[in-house]
């Protein structure tokens, strides 16, 4: 019995308890313990990279073995999540600096959240992952409550949806336990390959509901915008980069390792070369992309734009994964890595801006480029990555997804995906314009750059995005090993791009970058050889001869895309949220009618009892005669 995997799992729990205990001494002691225990998994993990180890630790409960194991897919995600948790914990130290007791609890909960995520990734049977999954949901529930004004509404929405998902998964787990008699992944996979069709379909749908709720796919996405927006900023990073990816990881693992594409094509009819359930999931992913993008364009809150953007990007990942080809799965896994990096970067920058200015409402911000230049550059790199423009990392994964769609001959889905890319350009420009460009408001005159320790997460993620973009071979190393584990033929790649292969045209990102730099040098030479430009004040603008004064707000920020809003206005009536709200209203009305039974009057209760007694005795007597 080797204990090292168990040590990886227990390190965050232990670290959290130690940090919470140390908070009784002093805040900085707590912070030091917190950060050290966030760094330890970096040391423990590299031993297990690209190894597949099964059934590493046994704990026997009620005759079933709870086991842990590691495989290339989990180790890739473990490494990524450790980095995100570490950077987010640096951020959390600043955010909860002057909140006293709440800060101590937040430190404890974030460490436990890391432990729960590790548990889900290291699980090798369906009960273990469920236990840690629920632990994750509870901890997120507590962490979200420490956020902004509407945090309590967000908490309620989140926990309701998490419970719906949990119950659906529990039903599937219990069904499988009774049918298969065992809970290990390999045993379940063996049972499912010979199971009747109805069992396979029912369990898959129940599991998919649970995972897709966590991954915020339509129509289960209604908790995402308000939860991401109202959570504290370090927790938003973890939500968007880690928690969502856990749902997608589980979906990939279950769909390809446990159930398997062969099973689906054997039992279900084929539609255009895909099994039916995968085809439906592709369309759900495409719908999520386009609707998420269009709603993100018309938001007025910085974090809501990022939340809706996360919804749209997980649509991309679902679309890619449910294609079921090596190209598609590689694109989906690469997009998981890239999305965690650049979405985390954007949430960090917005968090820094909120930390300094105190507001996340876009019409109130503006012109911060002169005060916070480093944040501007980090956000610029993040924006180029979200829009999928070379040479940053968003381009590589989106390129793989588009080429996979071309290979599968699906033009309508390709159109929707490309249109989503163009739309993402729109909302991402809105974000950087309303925060950093435009007119600087008077109240923000004394804003300084974020503290150096807070700049470190932004710089690390921005450089990582640039590195993974220019040299896509580095993340592809891990992705191809994970792809091989899931049972696909890994696609060919080299350090600088993808060589020519069937279904994929060659692309070489460093060539694009070097040519771009050469073009910039030529243009820059031409620019700087001409007479120097004199700096003028921002108020010295052409406004038909008028002289502008500082107290006039002429920043174009509110209703930036109001004409786009007019175009999609007829479709705003059809909102998923209104469906759920009408359902809730119906239940409330039914409950109202049912409540009238409780009149509080003793006579009515006694008469109810007598009437029911008469009816039942009649049934008993007559039933005895009739039957």
């Amino acid at each position: 019995m080797n204990f090292s995997l168990l040590m990886i799992l227990l390190t965050p729990f232990f670290g959290g308890l130690l940090a919470y205990a140390a908070s009784a001494l002093h805040k900085s002691v707590r912070n030091i313990f917190f950060l050290i225990f966030m760094l330890i998994p970096f040391v423990e993990l590299p031993v297990y990279l690209n190894k597949t180890v099964d059934n590493f630790y046994y704990l026997t409960i009620l005759g079933q073995n709870l086991s842990l194991g590691i495989n290339p897919l989990s180790s890739m995600m473990l490494l990524l999540f450790t980095l995100i948790f570490f950077l987010s914990s640096i951020f959390m130290m600043f955010e909860f600096n002057d909140r006293g007791e709440e800060g101590d609890l937040a430190v404890l909960e974030l460490s436990f959240l890391e432990g729960a995520v590790f548990g889900v990734l290291l699980a090798r049977d369906i009960l273990t992952f469920f236990i840690f999954f629920e632990l994750m949901a509870v901890l997120v529930f507590f962490l979200v409550g420490k956020g902004y004004k509407e945090a309590h509404t967000a908490q309620m929405k989140y926990i309701t949806w998490a419970l719906i998902g949990a119950n659906s998964m529990l039903a599937a787990i219990v069904l499988l336990l009774f049918k298969a008699g065992n809970i290990g992944y390999t045993e379940i996979a063996g049972y499912l390959s010979t199971a009747p069709t109805s069992i396979v379909i029912v369990t898959f749908i129940l599991f998919a509901i649970g995972f897709l709720i966590e991954a915020s796919i339509m129509p289960f996405h209604v908790w995402t915008p308000i939860t991401y927006a109202e959570a504290p900023d370090s927790v938003s990073v973890v939500l968007a980069s880690v928690v969502k990816k856990v749902g997608l990881y589980l979906f990939a693992l279950f769909a390809f390792s446990l159930f398997g594409l062969n099973l689906f094509s054997k039992l279900l009819p084929q539609v255009l070369d895909n099994s039916l359930v995968m085809y439906i999931l592709q369309w759900i992913g495409a719908l999520t992309i386009i609707i998420g993008t269009f709603i993100a364009i018309v938001q007025e809150d910085a974090k809501k734009i990022l939340a809706w953007s996360s919804v749209a990007q997980s649509g991309y990942i679902l679309l890619a994964l449910s294609l079921g080809t090596p190209l598609g799965v590689a694109g989906g896994l690469l997009h998981i890595i890239n999305h965690s990096i650049f979405k985390g970067l954007l949430f960090f920058v917005v968090g820094g801006v909120i930390y300094r200015t105190g507001t996340k409402n876009l019409p109130e911000l503006g012109g911060l480029i002169k005060k916070m230049p480093l944040s501007f550059i980090s956000m610029l790199l993040g924006i180029i990555a979200v829009a999928g423009i070379p040479p940053l990392n968003g381009f590589n994964s989106k390129y793989l997804i588009y080429e996979a769609l071309i290979q599968k001959n699906e033009p309508i889905l390709l159109t929707i995906a490309l249109l989503g890319g163009t739309g993402s350009f729109m909302y991402v420009y809105r974000l950087i314009h309303s925060i950093f460009l435009g007119q600087l408001h008077e109240v923000h005159e004394s804003v300084k750059e974020v503290p150096i320790l807070m700049q470190i997460p932004m710089i690390v993620l921005a450089l990582l995005a640039l590195l993974f973009g220019v040299l896509p071979g580095i993340p592809m190393y891990f992705v191809s090993k994970a792809e091989a584990f899931l049972g696909f033929n890994p696609i060919k790649y080299n350090l600088t791009g993808f060589p020519e292969q069937p279904g994929l045209h060659a692309v070489n990102v460093p060539v694009i970058s070097i040519t771009f730099v050469a073009g910039l040098v030529v243009a820059g030479l031409l620019f700087y050889l001409l007479p120097r430009a004199r700096k003028v004040h921002q108020l010295d603008n052409y406004y038909a001869g008028e002289v502008l004064t500082k107290d006039v707000k002429y920043n174009y920020s509110f209703g930036f895309y109001s004409f786009f809003d007019d175009i999609i206005a007829p479709f705003n009536k059809w909102s998923v949220e209104s469906v759920y709200e009408s359902f809730v209203g119906f239940i409330k009305t039914a409950g109202d009618y049912l409540r009238r039974v409780y009149t509080g009057n003793l006579e009515t209760y006694v008469s109810f009892g007598v009437i029911l007694l008469v009816i039942f005795s009649l049934i008993y007597i007559l039933g005895g005669i009739l039957w």
């Binding site: 010295d540 052409y542 038909a544 001869g545 008028e546 002289v547």
Partner: protein, 173 residues
């Protein structure tokens, strides 16, 4: 030294020769004289064949056309716009009101001589000048640029205090 000077002069001459064929005017209609601009720009009296096109912002244009009478409110905006333009820039006084007040010669609200406040390169007389006169004015400006004599902007920079003094007297800045 001599060679460098002659090279520079030759360079400026060539540039002037090329520049005079691409003057952009600011489409900023200050007063009634602006009614003569559309006929000049459009089909019958085509000003675009000389490269003269109307542009909207002061940052992009070379010629400031002061069309018609100048009251004090307009003078304020004109000076702001003139200072926002990028040198080399030229001012054309359009109509008789810029020369000596025109038909408003006894009004209290009209500035009588534009020359005291902004350096004018070419005057176009008339009330209103016909499009053919406008085109003749443009051609005179082009000839002056070619000969290197259209230096209103240099005059403004060298006698800045003089112009500012005159402006302050009238505008109460």
């Amino acid at each position: 030294m001599e060679l460098q000077e002659t090279l520079e002069e030759g360079y400026v001459e060539i540039l002037d020769h090329l520049r005079k064929r691409s003057l952009w005017m600011l489409h900023y209609c200050t007063a009634c004289g602006a009614i003569e601009l559309p006929p000049t720009i459009t089909s019958r009296f085509d000003a675009e064949r000389f490269g003269i096109a109307p542009f909207v912002t002061s940052r992009q244009s070379d010629i400031l056309l002061v069309t018609g009478y100048i009251n004090i409110k307009t003078l304020r905006r004109l000076i702001t716009v003139y200072e926002q333009m990028l040198p080399p820039k030229y001012v054309i006084g359009f109509g008789s009101c810029t020369i000596n007040g025109g038909i408003y010669w006894d009004s209290y609200a009209i500035v009588k001589r534009l020359d005291l406040y902004l350096p004018v390169d070419v005057y176009i007389a008339g009330c209103m000048p016909t499009p053919m006169a406008v085109l003749e004015g443009f051609r005179t400006l082009m000839k002056l640029i070619d000969e290197g004599k259209a230096n209103g902007w240099k005059k403004y920079q060298e006698n800045y205090e003089y112009y500012k003094e005159n402006q302050r007297k009238v505008l109460k800045w």
